[in-house]
């Protein structure tokens, strides 16, 4: 019996050992596979990096040679020479990297040959030609051979990288499969071994220990009874079978348990997904807040912080991101009132359950913040920490400051003419004066009273604009005549200044509110005279430009300090230093001018040098040599790297965009303000005093550019900062030209719709087109009903803006014709009319669902709103006084 048992034991142990060895061998093999795949992947990465370096070299060569040819500037030659010198080394490295796949190796060799041919056969020749014969070189560049070669090389790079990526992906997939297999085999092996060991142990117990115990018992019995001993073999076999069954049952139980466990795990994973989603939503919610939010524990350590507060603490307060509350107090040194800030901190330290509210201002950057803090309790009511909410209130504080300064100014402005009126009236009452003196006093009283009236009018106009009730009475007039009229009035008053007036010979026909335009001219003239020293010259020039009339008023006065230029058109702004009052004015004139000019679809701006003088100008849509609307959208690229800027410009020009460049923050801001573009692409690291963030803030703060979408292009991690400061898009460097083109296209197409403007008056069409151009979109023009119908037949517009009284085919007849065809019946119509409508006509227009804007109560904002509404884009409420027919 013991012999058989021994053999069984030995063979079972051997089996077990073999099994375990097999399992481990499998695992080791799989791990080896995994490492191998990792090596292959690293190799692929190296190949891709080498390929990308090679590609950069080619692009650098093309950009710098092209830059040299176009600009003829030596600095472009430096990178070119460097890259030509670097080529052999890089090429060797590149080919060496590709020592695996024969196909890839062949492709690499063909790329190297291609680059060599590009350098030797094209680029070197081009640069040599550019040195001797620049124009011939320019011709070569524009012929596009270099671009073709580079494009062909790019395609090859693309194939190489794609193949390498596929290779790497394949290896990765293999490795992952091996890894999975190893894990499964490992787990299965360990469970199997455990079970086998268990079975072996039970078997040992049954086969050795129990029989021994029974033998002992039986030996004891033997001494008592002399009974023949049963052969135990059969009984033992039966009991083993029983135990086997029990073991199998147990194993079934284990399996069932495992299934339950797996079900639990699935539920857990589902819970985790929900939880992660919740965390995501909370995070997004926190980050969407304009306020900085931070949760700290009882020791002042940060538990939670949104991106706004992270930006505030690191970029503005200059303390570490996760500074404790106490460390954060270090900013007290930079505040205008450190004592009150520290007092709040002490209040919090003394009573952890208190809520506080205070504000503080950074003395160096003049930015103000409001801070709320309060205790946070968990669901059991236990105090767990404190929430801190910080909101920037710089704008509100500045507005409040401006308002209170305005009250002081108004008081002063009203009191000065009042002193004249009351004073001279009193002198008239108390003294016997000769007729001449009396009349002079009365004249003074009269002119001072007029000054008061003008002041009150300014305030009322501002009130109207604020209430949205600012409308224009449109009429056709001649701009040069109006200018002459205003200049005559001023020449009579400004005896100490020379007024020089230049107008073109051609008439400058335009449509607008004559009185309002007169107000703008008067305002600019009176400013120019006020700011010029006695004897100084004020020049008024009117020049026609294509589709526009431009009026310039130049003075030789004080000029406007650079740091205040961005705010010139802001309401209540006045050139100001310490307690010195500016010369006259309410601080409202230029803000009004801006409103009036933009309401006419025009632009206003200025150039000024402190101490030299200023030139204020405005442009109004005019019939002068107007061609059909040039709808080319203009993109302003603010980027200091000349190579990158050139690439961007070429890239955007592909989409038919007009591209304007600026290499620094100041010049970019200046250009954007002078002529607001459709989109701004903004780099963040810029030379000079203004970095990209500051440019963004100023663009968004200025009414001239606040609506212009800004795409921030930077390598810095600034996505949330960009969004917080009002950027519409963020493109992280390094980006491809296509990425940028797509981003720009997205911004341009946001409201890209087609509008057809029909009016026989060219000047009025110009006004409408320039007004609607601010919302982007395609604008077409037709001079009468027939022309409009022809254009609609070619392609129906999304909205029709039309006059009613027109030659050939009038508005009503045209609407009838549109009703005849199904595809033109639904075109929304905005009617712009100068005549009073009869009840029947109104009914007709109402049935046609047309909205009506009267020319004598015209408002650009209202027109834009009506068009947006017709396009189904108007989300905001109508400006006051909008009336549908």
């Amino acid at each position: 019996m013991s012999d058989t048992l021994g053999r069984r034991l030995i063979s079972a142990s051997a089996l077990l050992t073999m099994l375990v060895v097999l399992i481990f061998a499998g695992m080791v093999y799989a791990i080896g596979d995994l490492r191998n795949a990792g090596r292959q992947e690293r190799h692929s990465e190296e190949v891709i990096a080498a390929s990308s370096a090679m590609q950069t070299l080619v692009l650098n060569l093309e950009t710098s040679s092209r830059g040299y040819v176009i600009t003829r500037k030596q600095p472009f030659l430096g990178p070119w020479t460097r890259n030509v010198d670097a080529f052999p080394g890089q090429a060797a490295n590149f080919v060496a990297r590709l020592n695996g796949e024969p196909q890839q190796q062949q492709l690499a060799r063909s790329i190297v040959a291609g680059v060599r041919s590009y350098i030797d056969d094209y680029s070197k020749g081009l640069v040599a030609t550019a040195r001797s014969e620049p124009s011939a070189a320019a011709a070569i560049v524009s012929a596009g051979e270099g671009k073709r070669r580079v494009d062909a090389l790019r395609a090859k790079f693309g194939t190489l990288v794609a193949a390498e990526t596929d290779l790497a992906a394949h290896e990765r997939a293999n490795a992952e499969a091996a890894g999975r297999w190893a894990t499964r085999a490992g787990i299965a092996g360990i469970i199997g071994s455990a079970l086998l060991i268990l079975v072996f142990a039970v078997y040992l117990a049954r086969a050795i220990v129990r029989p021994l115990r029974r033998m002992a018992v039986e030996a004891g019995t033997l001494t008592t009874y002399d009974v023949s001993v049963h052969e135990p073999e059969a009984g033992r076999n039966a009991s083993l079978k029983r135990q086997n069954t029990a073991l199998e049952l147990q194993s079934d139980g284990l399996k069932a348990h495992q299934v339950t466990m797996e079900a639990h795990q699935v539920t857990m994973e589902a819970h985790q997904v929900t939880l992660e989603r919740l965390v995501d939503i909370n995070r997004a919610l926190l980050d969407a807040s304009v306020d900085g939010i931070r949760l700290v524990d009882l020791e002042g350590r940060t538990l939670l912080a949104n991106s706004v507060i992270e930006h505030l603490t690191t970029a503005i307060f200059g303390v570490p991101k996760y500074a404790t509350l106490q460390e954060g107090s270090a900013i007290a040194d930079r505040l205008t009132d450190p004592a009150s800030y520290l007092a709040t901190m002490e209040t919090i330290a003394a009573d952890p359950d208190c809520a506080t509210r205070d504000d503080f201002e950074l003395a160096d950057v003049r930015r103000a913040f409001e801070r709320h803090t309060g205790p946070v309790h968990d669901s059991a009511g236990e105090l767990i920490g404190r929430i801190i909410v910080i909101r920037e209130i710089t704008a509100e504080r500045d507005a409040a400051r401006l308002k209170s300064e305005l009250v002081a100014t108004v008081s002063h402005e009203l009191r000065t003419p009042l002193t004249g009126v009351l004073g001279f009236a009193e002198l008239l009452m108390h003294h016997d004066l000769d007729d001449d003196t009396g009349r002079r006093y009365l004249q003074t009283i009269h002119s001072e009273a007029q000054r008061l009236t003008a002041l009150v009018d300014d305030f009322l106009d501002v009130q109207k604009i604020e209430a949205g009730r600012f409308t224009l009475a449109l009429e056709s007039f001649e701009l040069a005549a109006l200018l002459e009229h205003e200049v005559e009035i001023f020449a009579a008053q400004a005896t100490k200044h020379r007024l020089e007036f230049e107008t073109p010979d051609e008439p400058l026909a335009m449509v607008g509110d004559r009185n309002r335009i007169g107000q703008v001219i008067a305002n600019l003239l009176s400013n120019a005279i006020k700011y010029s020293p006695a004897g100084g010259a004020v020049t008024i020039t009117a020049i026609p430009r294509e589709g526009f009339a431009r009026v310039m008023v130049s003075d030789s006065g004080l000029g406007i300090p650079k740091d205040q230029q961005a705010q010139v058109f802001t309401r209540f702004f006045r050139v100001d230093s310490s307690d010195t009052r500016e010369i006259g004015g309410t601080g409202l004139g230029l803000a009004l001018c801006h409103e009036i000019v933009t309401a006419h679809g025009g632009r206003i701006g200025f150039e000024s040098t402190e101490g030299v003088g200023s030139t204020f100008w405005f442009e109004l849509p005019s019939a002068w040599r107007a061609s059909a609307a040039d709808n080319r959208a203009r993109v302003l690229v603010i980027e200091d790297d000349p190579a990158l800027a050139t690439l961007l410009a070429e890239c955007l020009a592909l989409d038919g965009l007009e591209v304007e460049m600026a290499a620094a923050g100041e010049s970019g801001l200046e250009r954007a303000l002078a002529n607001p573009p459709a989109v701004v692409c903004l780099d963040i690291f810029l030379p000079g005093a203004l970095d990209g963030w500051q440019v963004l803030v100023q663009l968004k703060a200025n009414p001239l550019t606040a609506h212009v979408p800004v795409i921030v292009c930077t390598g810095e991690k600034g996505r949330s900062t960009a969004a917080t400061l009002g950027a519409t898009e963020f493109v992280a460097k390094p980006f491809t030209g296509d990425q940028l083109r797509e981003a720009v296209a997205r911004q341009l197409s946001a409201e890209r719709s087609s509008v057809l403007v029909v009016d026989d008056d060219l000047a009025l069409r110009r006004l409408v087109v320039e007004t609607l151009a601010r919302d982007g979109g395609e604008l077409r023009e037709a001079a009468d009903g027939l022309e409009a119908l022809a254009m609609i037949a070619v392609r129906p517009p999304d909205v029709l803006v039309m006059d009613l009284a027109m030659p050939k085919l009038d508005g009503f007849a045209m609407l009838d014709r549109l009703l005849e065809r199904a595809e033109t019946r639904q075109i929304p119509v905005v009617v712009l009319t100068g005549r009073d409508l009869t009840g029947a006509e109104r009914r007709l227009l109402r049935e046609r669902n047309a909205s009506v804007l009267e020319k004598r109560k015209y408002s650009g904002d209202q027109l834009r709103w009506l068009v947006r509404q017709a396009l189904g884009q108007a989300a905001e409420p109508a400006p006051v006084s909008t009336r549908a027919a």
């Binding site: 008081s411 000065t416 002193t419 002198l427 010195t580 009052r581 010369i583």
Partner: protein
């Protein structure tokens, strides 16, 4: 102030400094009837220049002016021994406490709030100069 060194028989000189021409006209119309010689300055620099040249017996000084403000001018006048004692009447369009305090600190003798009465101005000048 009553003991200002005015030569009997000579007409006292009053300097008026205001950037608003209408204000200067009003002061001239009020005082220039044979009793006073009125000298006009349209900003702070001109006022200081004329003070040194004309040695006025009284200065009427506007508070808010472009360039050098009224309080700046007053401070300079008081710092110069030659004009430290010259009576100064401030003309102000703001009559808030802070302005008055600033005026006292800088050493003005009186102030008038715009709009002011010409008759009242004549009386105040008479009182200050003891004429």
């Amino acid at each position: 102030m009553g003991d200002s060194p005015i030569t009997p028989g000579a007409r006292p000189t009053v300097l008026v400094c205001d950037d608003e021409p209408v204000l200067r006209m009003l002061v001239r119309a009020t005082l220039d009837h044979g009793d006073y010689t009125v000298v006009e300055a349209c900003d702070g620099d001109e006022a200081l220049e004329l003070t040194r040249a004309e040695h006025p017996d009284l200065i009427l000084l506007d508070m808010m002016m472009p360039g050098r403000s009224g309080s700046d001018v007053l401070r300079e006048l008081r710092a110069d021994p030659a004009t430290a004692e010259t009576p100064v009447i401030m003309l102000t369009a703001r009559a808030q406490a802070t302005d008055r305090e600033a005026m006292n600190l800088a050493g003005a003798n009186h102030y008038l709030t715009k709009p002011f009465s010409p008759v009242g101005l004549a009386a105040l000048v008479e009182e200050v100069l003891g004429t």
